[in-house]
Structure formats: structure tokens, C-alpha cells
Symmetry: C3
Subunit: 342 residues, 3 copies
């Protein structure tokens, strides 16, 4: 942690200061927790009332706010906050172990400069790993897998043989990449396992959470596009094609052969059926079930999912169903009465 003046931070993130530009900032904290020497930020309108009481030396905001705390005003507060955290705190640090003698590294594997292979990691035959990677304990990398530069594989990640991983990819603990998909040919009541010929291609700058499952394709490769980020516990089926810059939140499941466009957002616990085509910039609300193709630039919600605004209205009315039933009965009675009038 290094101390900076607020002015330095403003220059770093391209913002302007309302208040004490000389304030010394050494760390970042939440609005409620921050004290002297700390900078905070307004993450969410819900917390705006905390601006009145915060003890932070400065606050990152998107527009000047009427309060006494010194403000660093920027176009994109979330991004500025990230850059300030990066500057003052940096990212997680890793043990620089070199290639541990307690790792199992096949002699036919190629390992780049300044790559660290921790104890009890397994690097199989003909694996190629780039430079400046960190391979944590218990990671398994199967034969002929390829990993680019600057990747981090956290403990116990399993990468099956032949998987291709680009540069700057981060895979969190206990995730599995490249296993055969759920592909069985059923004959006379017996489910026969289909050998999977496709592999998994993870492009540059992808992030994958903990306990994820990314299946190899049956025939074609499964693809996770550049810059896409996947949360914890997600399952990506065999042959799924995910575009660039998508956000796939925790516990999402995408069934086999579905294609997702670029910059899609799938909220937590969403399920997408197989063989679908989901367009660019589609946004799917939490727990939704997607059973049909989705046009680009659509926001959808619900299980089954349809257009967001409509869906919010419609699903909110489920609550009124008992009342609907009552009204229907009353209407029938009143109508019957009218009908009986001479």
C-alpha cells in the first residue's frame, strides 16, 4: 500500500476534484467503514444516504453531490474505483515458486519464462504453458493442452487433455474444463458414452469462477469468447459457443450446441436450452429459463422467459391469481342473474 494525493489519483483516472485536492489517500474502503486517509465510492444509489455520514477523505462519484465530503468526479465511477484499488492495493499476490520439484512436470512439456508451477500440480505430456503463469497446487493439466501467457489457474483446477487456453485467463479453484459433455447414444435401454472429438477453446482475458464445468464439444470445440467472465458454479454444455465480452453469472447452465452472441448478460441461475441461438447484447434476468432463440438487443425474464417489461408485469400478476378466480366466479354469478331476468 502506497500513499497518494487525491490529485495524483484524479490524474490517474481522469477526473476532477471538488474539495481538498491535497488529501492523502492510502487505501480504499466502503462508505460506512472508511475513515481519514481512505477513499470510497458510490457503488449503488441505495447507499447514497451514506454520503452524509461517511468519514472517508474522498468519494468517487459520477456527478457532483451536495454533501461536505471531498469528491472525485469521473465519467465511470465503477471503473475509476477499480483503477484506484489497483493502484493502491494491487491484485492478489502469488507465491513465486518457480517450477516446484514437488510438482509433476512431464519432460515433454514446454513451460515459458517466469511461470510458476506450485507443489502437487500435474503438467502432462506435450503441454505448452506460456510465460508468467501461476499454476497453483493440485492443478491438473492434461496432455497436449495449451495455455497462453499470464494465466492463473487456482488450486485443484482440472484441465483435460487438448484444451486450448489463451492469454491472461484466470480460472478459479476446483473448476473443470474439457471433460466429455453429457452425450450418450441410447440403444435398447442402455446409454452408450459418445467419445467427444471437440475440445474447449478459451480465448484471451476470459475469467472463470470456482467449481465451474466447461464441457468439451462432441464434434466441434466449445468456445468461450474473448473477455467473457463466468461466475461460480456455472455449467457450459458441449459445443456451446459464447461470444466476446459476455457476463455469465453464478450457477448459470447453458445446454449443448447453443450459441450466445457478444456482450450478453445471463444473471444468476439462468438456464438456457440446447441448440438455441441467442443474439448479441441479450440480457436475461435471474433464474430465467430460455427455451427459444432470442433476438439481439433483447432483455428477457421469467421461466419460460419473454420480453422483460412484459414479463415483470406478467409474473407479478401470479400473485393476483386467487383474486382473478374470485372475480371470475362473481362475474359468472352476476351474469347468470342477469341472464335469468326476463
Amino acid at each position: 500500500m502506497s500513499e497518494r494525493s487525491l490529485e495524483e489519483l484524479a490524474r490517474h483516472v481522469g477526473g476532477r476534484i471538488v474539495g481538498d485536492a491535497g488529501a492523502r489517500i492510502s487505501s480504499v474502503a466502503g462508505l460506512a467503514q472508511a475513515g481519514k486517509g481512505q477513499i470510497s465510492f458510490l457503488a449503488n444509489r441505495r447507499y447514497a444516504k451514506l454520503l452524509a455520514s461517511t468519514q472517508a477523505s474522498a468519494v468517487i462519484v459520477g456527478a457532483a453531490v451536495d454533501c461536505s465530503v471531498t469528491q472525485l468526479i469521473v465519467e465511470n465511477p465503477h471503473y475509476a474505483y477499480m483503477r484506484v484499488v489497483e493502484l493502491l492495493h494491487g491484485h492478489r499476490r502469488h507465491k513465486l515458486s518457480g517450477i516446484s520439484p514437488r510438482a509433476s512436470v512431464d519432460p515433454t512439456a514446454t513451460i515459458g519464462d517466469q511461470t510458476h508451477i506450485h507443489d502437487f500440480a500435474t503438467i502432462s505430456e506435450k503441454v505448452r504453458i506460456g510465460s508468467r503463469c501461476v499454476i497453483y497446487p493440485g492443478v491438473f493439466i492434461g496432455a497436449e493442452a495449451e495455455i497462453g501467457d499470464d494465466c492463473i489457474l487456482y488450486p485443484n483446477v482440472a484441465v483435460y487433455d487438448g484444451v486450448h487456453i489463451g492469454h491472461r485467463v484466470i480460472i478459479d479453484a476446483n473448476s473443470s474444463v474439457g471433460q466429455d459433455g453429457f452425450g450418450y447414444a441410447t440403444h435398447k435401454g442402455v446409454h452408450h458414452k459418445i467419445p467427444h472429438l471437440g475440445r474447449v477453446r478459451i480465448e484471451d482475458d476470459v475469467g472463470i469462477g470456482t467449481n465451474c464445468s466447461i464441457q468439451s464439444g462432441a464434434l466441434n470445440d466449445t468456445r468461450i469468447g474473448r473477455g467473457t467472465k463466468i461466475g461460480d458454479g456455472a455449467v457450459i454444455g458441449h459445443g456451446v459457443q459464447i461470444g466476446v465480452g459476455c457476463l455469465i453469472v453464478s450457477q448459470v447452465g447453458i445446454a449443448g450446441s447453443t450459441t450466445l452472441g457478444n456482450y450478453c448478460v445471463l444473471a444468476g441461475q439462468v438456464g438456457v436450452s440446447g441448440h438455441l441461438k441467442v443474439g448479441d447484447r441479450v440480457s436475461v434476468g435471474a433464474q430465467s429459463g430460455v427455451a427459444n432463440d432470442v433476438e439481439p438487443d433483447t432483455k428477457i425474464f421469467g421461466s419460460p422467459a419473454f420480453e422483460l417489461k412484459q414479463a415483470l408485469q406478467a409474473y407479478a400478476l401470479v400473485k393476483s391469481l386467487p383474486e382473478f378466480r374470485k372475480t371470475l366466479k362473481k362475474l359468472e354469478q352476476r351474469l347468470a342473474q342477469l341472464e335469468q331476468q326476463p
Copy 2:
């Protein structure tokens, strides 16, 4: 396994006997499977009919039942059953390996008395582990993490650096604790990873299932309150605050910054949105989606979730929607006919 008289068991759990107090009991079994020398219990009203046919030497019940089997009558049969199982069978036994020479233990780590570190476990720099813990093979404990006394970490659990774990905590296999949350600042279409400054604090007596994901907080620590139990495959988002004594069943997902009160029960596959406040003793039915704050002492259900009784009625009526539509059409026709009458 040691044999006891039913009388001894009754004294141990504080119950009274109707029938043969001298019966010798050596083990516990289900009502349908139990035979002579075994004690069973009535777990669920569904199984009451089995009391007539059980061959058990005794049955633990909450109130005297009209049947011929010897009964041990207690206030809380489930709890008495647990104590009898504990007495007769005990908990899972662990290999007492000491600190295995095949484990990787950093010289700066502090390990308490009678703590067992199995083969291929990794204990990083400045880790502190209390006494009488069992660390199974393949467990990774990151730098400066702290673990109290009497904890059990099952195979391949990954504890990231700086995580704080209390006493008597059990974490089952392949769970991940302390990874960065799903926090990205999006700027010009690129999702930039936000370094997470918070850590995870797991209080005493917490239980965490297999394949769980507990994320570090972005700014503040994620907290799992004392005595809370979490099922398999659950995902707890960054900065989530869970109170004491909660039951979080399998595959639940709780999004970032949400606060759960004490003694909440979240049934299987429940999803809770981010930044919410869920009060004490809230109960949420299976697969529900919680999208709003919840008052204490509320039972809710559904996706979206609302008050339980109302929700059970309302969701049951989805089935009647085709009928509703028919009725609506008929009403319109009948009304139109009436309107056309002179």
C-alpha cells in the same frame, strides 16, 4: 460400536421408556431395516405406518404411540436420535497422520497440537491452524489464512489467502472459500477485474458442504455467522452477510452484498438477489427467487417470491390458466349476447 441398555440411552437423552427398559441396544437403523438390538426413530409422519411392522428393539418417538414396540419418548426425537447415533456409532473417523512429510507446509506456518496434515495438502506462508484439526489430502490453504481449533477440511478444499475460519468448522470436499467475487468494472466494452480487498470470515461451528463457492468481499468481508450450515453446491456472493444459525440448503445462490438475518432457512436451489436485506427467521421455499427485502419472521415462496400461503395458492392456480381463459371467453360471449338484447 458399544452395546447399551435402553435405560442408559434414556438417561443419556433424557427420555422415558414405555416397554422393555432392559433391552440391549448396539446400533441404530431405519424403521424398515432395524432388527433385534437396534433402535430406530420416527423421522417423518410419512413413515408412521412402519411402526406396526418394525422389528426394532426400540423406537424413539415424540409421544406415546399405540403399538407393540418399546418406545423411548423424548421431547425432541430428532435430537435424541442424533445423540444416540453419536453415542453408539460416533462421527466419521479420520487418519491420524500427524504432519505428513508429503504435505507442503511453509516453515512460517503455525500448526497447533494434534493437528493432522495429510499428504499433498499445502499450507502456505504465515498460515495459522489451531489444535486438533484434520486437513485432508489436496487441501490448499493460502497465505495468512487463519483456522481455529477442531476444524475438518475434507479433500481438495481450497482456502484462499487471508480467509478467517473459526473453531469446529467443517468444510466438505472440493469447496472453494475466498476467491474474488464476480466483480468487474466495464469500460468501453471491456470487463476489468476489480481486486477484492475484503476476505471471508467463517465463524465457529459453521458447516459447509461439498463443491461450495464462498466469495471474498469486494471491500468488506463476507461473513458466515456462527452455527450456520450450508449444503452442497451453494454459491455465496461477495460481501454477503449471513447471520447465526441459518440453514442454507444445496445449490442456493446468494448474490453480492445481501444481508441475511439469524436463523433463516433457504431451501434447495433458492436464489437471492444482491443488495437485499432479509430479516431474522425468514424461511424461503425451494427454488424461490427473492428479489426484494424480506421482513423478519416471514415465510415466502415462489419466483418471484411472496408470502408462503398466498404463494402456494397462487402458484397452484397457474395450472388453471387455460380454464380461466376459456371462462373469460365464455363470459365475453354471454355478455355480448346480453348486450345485444333489446
Copy 3:
């Protein structure tokens, strides 16, 4: 990869050829990707239009198609495709390590012929493993567990003590088998862990995906029936009984003590409550919530789930609820008007 004539393939799978029986086939590829020397197959009607443009030397189909490409016509194209892939490409290959000196194998364990134990695997006391198994790095097998012949346990699978696994079972990476279920006896606000006396019995030919959780039974064994296949990230509760030949797709959760018949299909993200009885050949649609017993040979859908056709109709009408409400209001107004007429 070995080259074959189409005639050989036809004989192998029992099909007839329309077109060039002498075509040389060396590998399998998707309709869109296949070229000369490759065979493809029609997996899904959605892709039928690709038959006109495919460059494949032959295509496996279920009935003659009017197109110029050579066809291999078989009764069950999916199964024939599987057999052709198996013949031309074979299944995933494994490192034949023997029993690695870097594995931890207890001297009391029994290991069959030609079984490979990779680096950093742990085989505990009195474990019995059959012949021709492959135990990948980081796998943990607890005391007294039994594993049959021809099994594959992928990296970091955790098998708790006493689990029984049959022949030809495949468990993918990072899955956990045999942990205690979510069983706590609550007394005065404290949740007391119940020791689990049951274990897990996995029968022959079962497949289990990555990151799955299969809990031990509280009293009786949890059972996964012969030939049942389980997808990634599924959670099977304590004491669940699953019949033979079931397909349990990714992220399904089945709560404790539920019994599933034979040949059931549970699609992705399905949840099944505890203590239920689901009959043979029941099919449950994706994301459904099963809260009641289900009769054999039933197809159900929805949360709550009911008969499929009815449910598809009913859930599709949620979309029309705002319209229903409007219609109800209009009907009330029109009726009121009529009622006010003299």
C-alpha cells in the same frame, strides 16, 4: 485414427449404403465442417438443411434423404454415430503410469492388475480397487472404499470412506461422493450434525459428471442404479434411491430420501423435494420443481410441476396475465352497465 471403407463401417453398425460404398472414411465431423474422407450424421432435424451443402463423404441418417451425399442408413443414427466415432477415434486415452511412486497408497489397500494410480492420488487404508482402473492425480479415496474394474476417476475426485463403486464407472473431475448429507438435529437454536451411518452405492456403468455431490445416507445407503448417467454440478441428497438407466442432467438437485424409478429423465436444473416417490420412466422438463409423488410413465414440467402438455399450455399463459386482468376489468364495467339498465 485408422481409415476404413464405408462398407466396413456399414457392416460394423448394421446399416445399408445409398451411394459410394467404397468411399474411404478416416474421421467424423459435423455436417458443416466435414470434408472429403469424413463421415457426418444428422443429429437433429434443425440441421437437415445442411445436408444439401455438406462436403462429407457420407452421412449417417435414419431414413433415405433426397440429397446427393452418400448415405449410411441405420435404425438408430445416434447409436451408429457413436459406434463409428468409437471405431475411428476411440475414447479418451489415459497415461499408463502404473502405481506412481508419487501417489500415496496405503499398504493395506488392494489394487488390481493394470490399474494406474497417478501422482498425488491418495488411496487410504483397506481400499479395494479392481483391475484396469485409472485414478487421476489428486483423487482421494477414503478408507475401506471399494471400486470395481475398469473405472476412471478424473482429477481431484473425492471418494469418502466406505463408498462402494461398481464396474466401468466414470467420475469426472472435482466431484465428491460420500460426504455426510445435510442432516442436522436442531435443539435450542443449535444445529447438531447427525453422524451418517449409510454410505453411497454406485452400481455398474454409472457416469457422474464434474463438480457433482453425492451424499451418504443418514441411515440407509444412497444408491445410484446401474447405467444411470449424471451431468455436471448435480447434487444427490442423502438416502436418495435412483433406479437403473436414468439420465440426470446438469445442475439437478434431488433432496434426501426421494426414490426415483428406472429410466427417468430429469432435465437441467430440475429440483426434486425430499421423501418423494417418482415412478419409472418419468420425464421432467428443465428447471421444473417436483413437490409431489409422480406416477410412472408421466411427463411433467413447471415449478410447481404437473402434466407436460397441460403445463406447457398453462405456463405459456402467464404471458397473457396482464391481458386477462384488462379483460376482467372490462367485463366488470360492461356487466355493471348492464346491471344498471332498468
